[in-house]
């Protein structure tokens, strides 16, 4: 890995399921180029991808800011959507408020937040109803 800290920023478009995943894909590419261990890339890619999908389907789009340092990658995904009233409830496997339309696209099984938890070394969810949600994912490299 190179010495410098890498900072990346991506726009996450609302309601565009065909583009959803582009930011995570971009980050995965960079981690590959840096020669990070495949298992760690996979962890970061999956956790970020789930957060990116949530920003698209629940958050009305948002912004992803990524910091890649020698020892860790931090992904911050911020949206100005409806927010999450009960984070503990939202974290439960199977809990979802997603529409049938989202379900037909293979998401909305209520596994996104649990997957983020499963694959990250640190997960912080900050949310305020009516203001938005920021999800911070850290994976140690």
């Amino acid at each position: 890995m190179s010495d410098g800290i890498i900072r990346l920023k991506f726009d996450i478009l609302p309601n565009d399921m065909s583009a959803a995943g582009e930011a995570s894909s971009g980050v995965k590419k960079v981690l590959n180029q840096l020669g990070v261990e495949p298992q760690k890339i996979k962890k970061a890619a999956i956790a970020m991808y789930e957060a990116e999908i949530n920003a698209v389907i629940h958050g009305g789009g948002g912004i992803a800011e990524v910091v890649i340092d020698k020892e860790y990658i931090e992904v911050k995904i911020r949206d100005e959507g409806p927010g999450i009233a009960d984070i503990e409830l939202a974290m439960q496997e199977g809990y979802s408020t997603a529409s049938d339309e989202i379900r037909e696209m293979g998401f909305g099984a209520g596994m996104g937040l649990p997957n983020m938890k499963r694959y990250s070394d640190k997960l912080v969810i900050e949310s305020e109803v009516g203001k938005g949600t920021t999800v911070t994912i850290v994976v140690n490299l």
Binding site: M17, S24, K42, A45, A109, M111, N115
Partner: protein, 117 residues
């Protein structure tokens, strides 16, 4: 099992990724729920799905899954095939439904090892 054997067993068309036919896949996973695939799949497997969405390809990309088989002869938009091609992911299409497809592969010795355990 080689991808070419999967193609034979499923009587599948190869829509992109001819160069992967010689590759080995040790296990398979059948699911229409991409979050489930991401929750449990550990090894690099063959993904069978009835879901037609670019998110299937995205999920495969994040999971390092190299082969996707779309079951029940689903019509695939070219954009999905192009996205898979760009990511170096092979796309198969079989007329058989999910249960039959999984059964054919399982009977031929394909397992779920590395998927659910």
């Amino acid at each position: 099992m080689k991808v070419s054997e999967v193609v034979n067993l499923l009587e599948a068309e190869v829509l992109t990724g001819e160069e992967s036919l010689d590759m080995e896949v040790s296990a398979a996973c059948g699911s229409d729920l991409m979050s489930d695939v991401m929750a449990y799949v550990k090894e690099n497997v063959l993904l069978l799905t009835g879901l037609v969405s670019p998110q299937v390809v995205r999920t495969a990309e994040m999971m390092d899954i190299k082969v996707i088989a779309f079951v029940r002869g689903k019509n695939l938009p070219q954009s999905i095939i192009d996205l898979a091609k760009e990511k170096g992911i092979a796309v198969l299409r079989t007329k058989h439904p999910m249960f039959i497809s999984c059964g054919k592969l399982y009977s031929a010795g394909m397992t779920g090892r590395g998927v659910w355990d």
